[in-house]
Symmetry: C2
Subunit: 457 residues, 2 copies
């Protein structure tokens, strides 16, 4: 997106100051609700209630859904009961649940008191499902058809009830709430004969998920099968809701951000970067920093153990950072690749042997290439160019042999740990660079001093 | 997904051996094409042509689209001209383009010769757009309506032409190929009166993208606005195609994998992990390993420079790995957070000052906490528990001061470099952990020896 030279916020502020409310209204209705929300978030807070009241009813609700919880709360507190009821009436159940989950108890009570009884019941039902489960992100508003209906009757039913449904494009055929099949609006519209019963054109091989399925798994199914919606059934196989592609996209974005944060040694947070206070950032970053600092004790102990040897040949110290970094980088290349493949369901624990064998061969190639390059670099740059005469051919050989072995070990550790973590029920992303680096650092030092002791002392 | 104890592949092999073709057919039609493709990929290659011929025409094409390029190529080579024509006839234009892009020239020629002239023209048109542009991933098969049509006429048109369209749910109202508005099937079905002209119910505030827009940007727009499809227009504002949500989901998955790979110091690859040979992995991993190894020369030079000082106080060496790792971890926490926020369009270059100020305050909190913890750890573990008497209070103070400063520098460098990269037109993901680690390593050593020289020598 191009950077703006002029800002719509300035225009709106100027129009507000001039009380040009109908002009503001004309501007706002041309905008997509998600853009209106982002403009509102950049406006001064005390102007929001007025601006919000200028939106037409339906757009108001859609804009409300896209806003930050803080602003939603502020707006709700300013709403009269009837204003609140108007917004709540227009919400889809799953959006209402998202909002309710973020609000303090007294605001939740007000929202529920303004929702109509049917919606209140559905909100409460969804709230009972565990966080991150399919049940917690589904909506209960879908089009259900009876198998005996004809195509014409089905289309009439959609026309009559569709306005409140999150999607009308995939309809579910149920009997006593049991899911029998699905039919798309495309199937219905393209059917040759309006009198054909729905049961004849419906697809009976319906892929569904249980209310307790993990939301990430569900989102990946939607992405894999290119579905607009996926039905959710309870443990008695009765249909209770649907999950739509747009919610799946949000889940995938959220879960990817979480994975990336964990891989960088940050405990995941719900807030965007700009909305996080320094203390928020501190809280999410300090645990791993502390843990990794303490576990670096091992590297310190190893060096202390070889201290007297190092005192005799201080030149060895100069190569420690390079060896540790190369080991860390090699290991995290493998672990991150494997973590991503696991989260895209490309790898399972049963592939472990295949993965290790692949990484060993890759490590041999990388190890040989880097060791050769390293030998050339050490002899040419460190010895000739920088004139460091302590760097003998033997020292260079020790450094390069360490490099090759470290890469081998790093790649094996890097690919194995995420798969083990997955197997043991941990999040594989935990096994990314910071963790691998700490382990590989200790191992590379052991290899270094082991080879050095054998060859040089 | 639960792990299978029994495999559908075994069943199919047994049925194939027994020539139970109609049973196989019955099984395959119950499965989703994307599942059929993944089963086929696990079967022996010489059985594929036979299995493939058992699929009904439409499912065959859908399965074909989901298969790996290698298998697609093998199947095409075995197809007769009429078999190839049947598959190509059923393909959507954008899927045909994806396949054509992966095939060698002689196979492409065969595919194009079997496509009907209209499709051939459209394929060639899409192939002209640059890789990763909106034009290259769009499909030219969408429903277009004239503004003068009534709702009833529009529905009739959809029923007549919809079967070949990738989505019928969003229809575009055009005049002389100029995009005037859009209308959804939901709008049409829920319209009160079949005689209402489309121009009256259409939404004229249509968000569209240019053929040359970046595919990732387009995918993020679809995700942000929750659209099923987004229209693509050329530079004269004439509508040329649409991009659908399922393609957007694939693009987002691909681009995220690419970001994650780059962040781990791997040049991105199109192949899945299991399909990559060790040489593929080597080629994508060695460039960064080499570059980072060579740039570690600086850390070596810094240590060499302080070699004589180190020889006097070897205990300082023992803390190098911990300081370097903590610096690297702190820096990559900041850089990865900022990189992700940039790729989700949450941050722009104009936020740089805000970001740096936030990171400085976070760094002070993290630095103080870690320095305190480090002091306790060094005095209790290293000095008391391990009995390392070289570790004086002064040494501990130097280590902790270095830690606090390193974190500050690491976080500033970590948040600044990705934003600068973005500003200069590079991929911010390049500035993730491996790169930051190398820079922060050198800086942390300079800080360490700087403080040590001032206090200890």
């Amino acid at each position: 997106m191009a950077e703006r030279t002029f800002s719509i916020e300035d225009t709106l502020s100027a129009l507000l100051a001039g009380k040009k409310y109908s002009t503001i209204k004309d501007i706002l209705v041309t905008m997509n609700p998600s853009d209106v929300a982002s403009v509102f978030e950049d406006m001064e807070e005390d102007r929001l209630p007025l601006l919000f009241r200028l939106l037409p009813k339906e757009e108001a609700a859609e804009t409300f859904v896209e806003m930050d919880p803080e602003l939603q709360e502020m707006l709700i507190k300013g709403f009269s009961d009837s204003e609140l009821r108007e917004v709540v009436d227009e919400l889809y159940v799953d959006d209402a649940v998202d909002i309710v989950e973020e609000m303090p108890a007294n605001v939740v009570r007000r929202i529920l008191s303004q929702a109509d009884p049917e919606m209140r019941k559905q909100i409460n039902e969804i709230l009972r499902y565990p966080e991150n489960s399919a049940g917690s992100i589904m909506t209960t508003e879908y089009v259900s058809l009876r198998p005996s209906m004809t195509v014409g009757e089905a289309i009439t039913r959609i026309r009559r009830t569709g306005v409140d449904k999150e999607t009308i494009y995939t309809c579910y055929v149920t009997k006593d709430r049991n899911l029998l099949g699905m039919v798309t609006v495309k199937d219905l519209l393209l059917a040759q004969d309006d009198d054909t019963p729905v049961s004849e054109i419906m697809d009976t091989n319906v892929i569904s998920v249980n209310t307790h399925a993990d939301q990430e798994e569900v989102a990946q199914m939607l992405s894999k099968y290119n579905f607009i919606a996926l039905p959710v059934v309870d443990s008695d196989n009765r249909m209770v809701g649907i999950i739509t592609f747009d919610d799946a996209m949000d889940v995938l974005e959220e879960e990817t951000t979480e994975d990336i944060e964990i891989m960088a040694g940050i405990t995941p947070s719900d807030k965007t970067y700009l909305r996080s206070t320094p203390f928020d950032l501190f809280r999410h970053r300090i645990p791993w920093l502390l843990l990794l600092m303490v576990s670096a004790t091992f590297t310190g102990m190893i060096i202390t153990h070889f201290e007297s040897a190092l005192a005799h040949l201080v030149v060895l110290t100069a190569f420690i950072p390079m060896l540790m970094d190369t080991g860390g980088n090699s290991g995290s290349q493998s672990s991150v690749t494997v973590i991503r493949a696991i989260s895209l369901n490309e790898l399972e624990f049963s592939d472990l042997a295949v993965v290790i064998w692949k990484e060993i061969r890759t490590a041999v190639l990388c190890g040989l290439a880097l060791a050769a390059a390293c030998f050339a670099k050490v002899m040419l740059v460190d010895r000739l160019l920088l004139g460091n005469t302590d760097v003998s051919i033997l020292v260079a050989a020790v450094v390069c042999a360490t490099m090759a072995f470290t890469i081998l070990v790093a790649k094996i550790v890097g690919c194995t740990l995420p798969m083990l973590a997955k197997r043991l029920g941990f999040d594989p992303a935990v096994m990314a660079s910071p963790f691998i680096t700490t382990i590989v650092d200790a191992l590379s030092l052991l290899i270094y001093f082991g080879i050095a002791s054998a060859v040089l002392f």
